[in-house]
Amino acid sequence: MSWPERFLAELVRLGVQQARARRLTEDTAAQAAEQACDPGGLFGPPHLYARHLVAELAAPVAAPPRFTQAGPVLLNLTGVGKRYRRRTVFDNVDLTVRGGEVAAVVGANGCGKSTLLRICAGLTRPDAGQVRRTRRVGYVPQDGGTAGWLTADEHFTLFGAAAGVVPRRARSTGAHLAARLAWRPEPAQRAQQLSGGTRQKLNLVLGELHAPDLLLLDEPYQGFDQGTYVDFWRQVHSWRDAGRAVVVVTHLLHDLSTVDHVLDLGEQR
């Protein structure tokens, strides 16, 4: 495929309507011609420029920068490093996230995004550096974390019990949080019968069930359709506005225009 074709295909994949995507592709070709460049030389790889453009177009021109009343520091990494055998996965990672802030962790596959998130959660020990975090933490892994033979309600009860919440309250909280992701769990349905996207919703609800102050989310939208994806980000922003801190591992660059910090692990090396 040529550069414009790949650019167009990526725009469409990112949810831009066909007609608008075609118009943007024509514009982009004309812009390159105007500079007497080929598009790759001017804009770089087509899929990356498509994501960049979508993010830029979503940002309003006149929007004043958002000055949050930053809350207390809920997560602080200083000089954190991790080795795997003799290979340095990352080192010297600093990150501070306060209440009312969202941080995104980005980078290519294999650069240690999930490992870093597990270190934030206290599930993996770093080889170097210091981690300080608030006491109430919710962690949503990329996959797993649910038991296939249990129903959603049983998950709510179990995870609630771990956080000292009585079963009835855990179940009603779970149902309430699920509804915000446009999901109504079927009473008798086991987790293994759920679609991938719905199982991720269950994971998200479980991560949030005990009202943590710090939420750690590892690409939690795998298998979400466009509508659910939008619901998910609305949810992230409502957590933020409620003064919680959120760390999201993501590979979708157009998420980045609405976050407060971007930690690019790919750039570390």
Binding site: L24, A30, Q35, C37, F43, H52, E56, L57, V61, A62
Partner: protein
């Protein structure tokens, strides 16, 4: 030249200001920014900003032929663009004078 993160906040303002003076196309605007000593703006920064101005109705494009080479997309500022420019110019002035006060050596400030 302006450091990159600064430019990001002020590129829209600079573009609108240049378009108020006269309609122009992408490459022309990039040259004017460079000539003013503001920034060497890469295409990947400039063109999304122009498309955003267009989509938000702050500038309208029209195609015009050029003496040499491909046709060009000229942008003209709209009334909505002018009012955003006025508002942001005022913000910029406040911001700049605030920074100037902070930057002034203590002896001079008194």
């Amino acid at each position: 030249m302006m450091p990159k993160p600064w430019l990001h906040g002020f590129l829209d303002l600079c573009l609108l200001a240049m378009l108020r003076e006269r309609a122009d196309y992408g490459y022309g605007l990039a040259q004017r920014l460079a000539a003013a000593g503001v920034a060497d703006v890469p295409g990947g920064t400039l063109y999304p900003a122009l498309l955003r101005l267009e989509e938000q109705g702050l500038a309208v494009p029209s195609w015009a032929p050029s003496e040499s080479g491909p046709r060009r997309k000229y942008y003209e500022i709209t009334p909505a663009g002018l009012s955003v420019l006025a508002e942001q110019s005022a913000q910029w002035a406040r911001f700049r004078s605030g920074v100037d006060i902070l930057l002034a050596p203590v002896g001079e400030a008194q």
